[in-house]
């Protein structure tokens, strides 16, 4: 039992953080807002050169073949700087799904591996358009789409789909609805195989959103602590007032108890993505709750400034409000846990925190066989 990250994982996190600190600022985010695409190709290329777009891509096709535990703190850093580019969805969802499609359908291997290599080197964008997300972020920048028809998985190129753009409350997001016509030639796997793939994709997408919200929450809190030290009223820093301290302390508590939940979900997703439903739903709910509380309290502590376009805080707050509803909203995720709590075969109790197969012993004291756990 070891709940720590290793030195390599922390070093990777640090090097991404330092790259992002140079490449992504509130100025450069606001500059993206002025452009049609909203997408900074230079930043994307830098991320590809660092190996991050291909972090979860198999080594054989130019990736680093790492896993969700290696990636989770990087996703958190993307949230911390409110990175507009869809790195987390591409690097964690699209790559895994393509690799799984290659496994599931040998006829797709050549094309799939070529796409994986292009994802890794940053030359192509493939978006996994899961049915839970009616609008796809940066669809207009994508070269290919993995799309569901029922539970079948189809691959379409940009010229095979038609996009209708929608503005997001978060000016960093570029949403579109995708219209397309399924055909036998576009289908990669059937519904039976697709169901598992979509389920894993949802868990990876929700995990990525959770990790980003964890980063967003911490960034909002840090900015607001600083503001509360700088801003003076009644002749003293507003942060010396208990009423202000307690708002921000509550944010800190919410973050502290979301972090290990998100990290555990990363672990479970990496080990067994199809059985990570409860762990991921818990992570999404806990991280969203932290990010939403920070958005609320941090706006409050900024006073009227917090309600302006000029103040940077809304870059993070709006991303939080958007990601909260992305990859399944609170109702969806709480419902997955609720369903499990009502499952008569569900096993609870402290000894099953890390799953029943983990507590691999049977003293013959159990009346029933441990079968269902919230993995």
């Amino acid at each position: 039992m070891d709940f720590t990250f290793n030195q390599d994982q922390m070093a990777f996190r640090d090097s991404l953080a330092s790259m992002l600190a140079d490449a992504v600022s509130s100025e450069s985010i606001r500059a993206r807002w002025q452009t049609q695409s909203g997408f900074n190709r230079d930043t994307w290329q830098q991320l590809a050169e660092m190996g991050i777009t291909g972090m979860l891509v198999p080594v054989a096709v130019g990736g680093m073949q790492m896993d969700e535990v290696d990636f989770v703190m990087l996703a958190e850093e993307c949230g911390r700087v409110a990175l507009p580019e869809p790195l987390v969805d591409i690097a964690q969802v699209s790559t895994r799904m393509l690799a799984e499609l290659v496994q599931a359908n040998p006829a797709f291997a050549e094309q799939g591996n070529a796409l994986l290599a292009q994802l890794a080197d940053g030359s192509a964008l493939v978006i996994a358009g899961h049915m839970i997300n009616p609008y796809q972020n940066f669809a207009s920048e994508a070269d290919y789409f993995l799309l569901p028809h029922g539970e079948e998985v189809h691959l379409l190129s940009r010229d095979q789909v038609s996009l209708t753009a929608h503005k997001s409350l978060d000016p960093s997001r570029r949403l579109a609805r995708i219209e397309w016509t399924p055909a036998a030639e576009t289908r990669i796997v059937d519904g039976q195989q697709g169901a598992l793939l979509w389920r894993a994709a949802l868990n990876r997408g929700a995990l990525g959103a959770a990790a980003q919200m964890l980063g967003l929450a911490q960034a909002m809190l840090a900015q607001t602590v600083q503001y509360s030290c700088d801003r003076e009223q009644f002749g003293k820093a507003i942060g010396s007032n208990q009423a202000v301290k307690h708002l921000l302390a509550d944010c800190a508590v919410r973050i502290e108890f979301a972090r290990p939940v998100v990290y555990r979900a990363a672990y479970t997703t990496s080990v067994e993505p199809q059985r990570a439903d409860c762990a991921v739903s818990h992570a999404k709910t806990a991280a969203a709750s932290a990010a939403l509380l920070c958005a609320r309290h941090c706006t409050q502590v900024h006073g009227a400034m917090g309600y302006t376009w000029e103040c940077d805080l809304h870059i993070w707050a709006k991303r939080s409000w958007a990601l909260d509803k992305n990859w399944g909203d609170e109702g969806f995720h709480k419902n997955r846990i609720h369903e499990w709590l009502l499952n008569p075969r569900a096993l609870f109790g402290a000894e099953y925190t890390f799953g029943a197969s983990n507590t691999a012993f049977d003293l013959g004291l159990e009346s029933g066989k441990p079968e269902e756990v919230c993995a």
Partner: protein
């Protein structure tokens, strides 16, 4: 990251489970806030000590097992799973014990630890005073040095377990010229000493769970002082760290309550009209698990050489609010029956355990430093916001 128990850890769990199954009293014990229940719980402490299960994290030399923090968590999980009796000596073994090992002389360790471990001596805590609650540095009770002794005068209040306990560990002002957190010392007093008067205070459940203690020229040997004279504040803060941090409230306690809550919810949900109950049950379950995950993460970090800091104040807020949420939700599920105190020994005793827990949960945000004080600590020490 490897969130899997080792074979040794699973074997340890099996050993704990088996021992508890064989030794837990068949009949539930009376409350340890009654004289009969107190003695029953003392017997249970002795039983635990005989099996070396009293304080698994303590070194073997003191009757422990030298367990690491993960093993401690496993022990606690099995302990609450088995619904074993509450620990009447928790002030001693979880708070004073580790403090004694850090600050005590060899002679003090020899004198106090083994009797604490064996259940022979049960400890109360004596910190708060009528004028020193959240503002603990306002302590006024004095211990004045007279030769090899201290002469103690003053009053302590809200001393948990003091009605039936044998000893109390206190903080007194040993330097009468001093103010605030300087000039305080950490001193042990036997509760049967001449000049000590203990006045029980009934808690919300009507039982004397804590007491006022009056000291009228009470003489104790200077040997009873822990650490140097004037070091009382520093030592108390390290004890408070244990209290708010890992040791006082292990996650298994809340996971067991959450598990019982889910069972109650499964039975009652068809009869419940309040649509917010579903959300409450899901959140209680998630928060209990989040507290467990956080504790495992902290334990792993400490075992890898890290330290625990102001984030322990986050723990205290989180578990005390979680406990309130669990028991409030249970009361909602019980509806109009929630207020009924069951007859002693009646079959319907489940009602009583929820009500007891509900009343006790009211104290969580208050004891061990109120949650308002914890929020100040988080803001000032963890977030580094300006002091007021």
């Amino acid at each position: 990251m490897e969130l899997v128990y080792t074979a040794e850890q699973n074997a340890f769990r099996a050993e704990v489970r088996e021992w508890l199954a064989q030794h837990i009293p068949a009949e539930p014990l009376a409350s340890f806030d009654t004289s009969e229940g107190f003695e029953q719980h003392r017997e249970w402490e002795k039983t635990l000590a005989k099996g070396n299960w009293g304080m698994v994290t303590w070194p073997k030399a003191y009757g422990g097992r030298g367990c690491n923090l993960i093993e401690w968590l496993i022990f606690e999980e099995e302990y609450y799973r088995a619904e074993a009796p509450l620990r009447v000596n928790q002030n001693g073994i979880f708070l004073l014990g580790p403090t004694l090992m850090e600050y005590g002389s060899d002679e003090q360790k020899a004198r106090f630890i083994s009797k604490m471990a064996s259940g022979e001596e049960i400890w109360a805590q004596g910190w708060s005073e009528p004028g020193a609650g959240s503002d603990m540095a306002a302590i006024r009770s004095t211990a004045v040095r007279d030769g090899d002794e201290y002469v103690i005068n003053g009053q302590k209040v809200w001393s948990t377990r003091a009605v039936f306990a044998d000893w109390v560990f206190c903080i007194f002002r040993t330097d009468p010229e001093s103010s605030r957190h300087r000039g305080l010392s950490f001193v042990f007093v036997p509760l049967d000493a001449e000049g000590v008067t203990v006045r029980p205070i009934e808690q919300l459940n009507g039982l004397p769970g804590f007491a006022e203690i009056f000291f009228d020229n009470v003489r104790v040997p200077a040997f009873n002082r822990l650490g140097e004279e004037g070091e009382g504040w520093k030592i108390a803060m390290s004890t408070a760290g244990f209290e708010r941090g890992l040791m006082l409230r292990s996650p298994a306690r809340f996971q067991q309550s959450a598990k019982r809550l889910v069972e109650l919810y499964r039975q009652k949900r068809q009869d419940i009209l309040d649509s917010s109950i579903e959300d409450s049950v899901v959140r209680c379950y998630m928060d209990a698990e989040a507290y467990a995950l956080s504790t495992y993460q902290t334990a792993s970090r400490l075992m890898a050489g890290g330290s625990i800091g102001a984030e322990s104040s986050c723990n205290k807020i989180f578990w005390s609010e979680l406990d309130l949420h669990i028991y409030s939700t249970a009361m909602s599920l019980l509806g109009a029956r929630a207020e009924i105190i069951p007859e002693q020994g009646a079959a319907d005793d489940e009602l009583g355990s929820w009500l007891d827990g509900f009343l006790f949960a009211q104290s969580g945000p208050i004891y061990a430093g109120t949650n308002e004080i914890q929020r100040n600590i988080i803001a000032e020490r963890m977030l580094e916001m300006p002091r007021g």
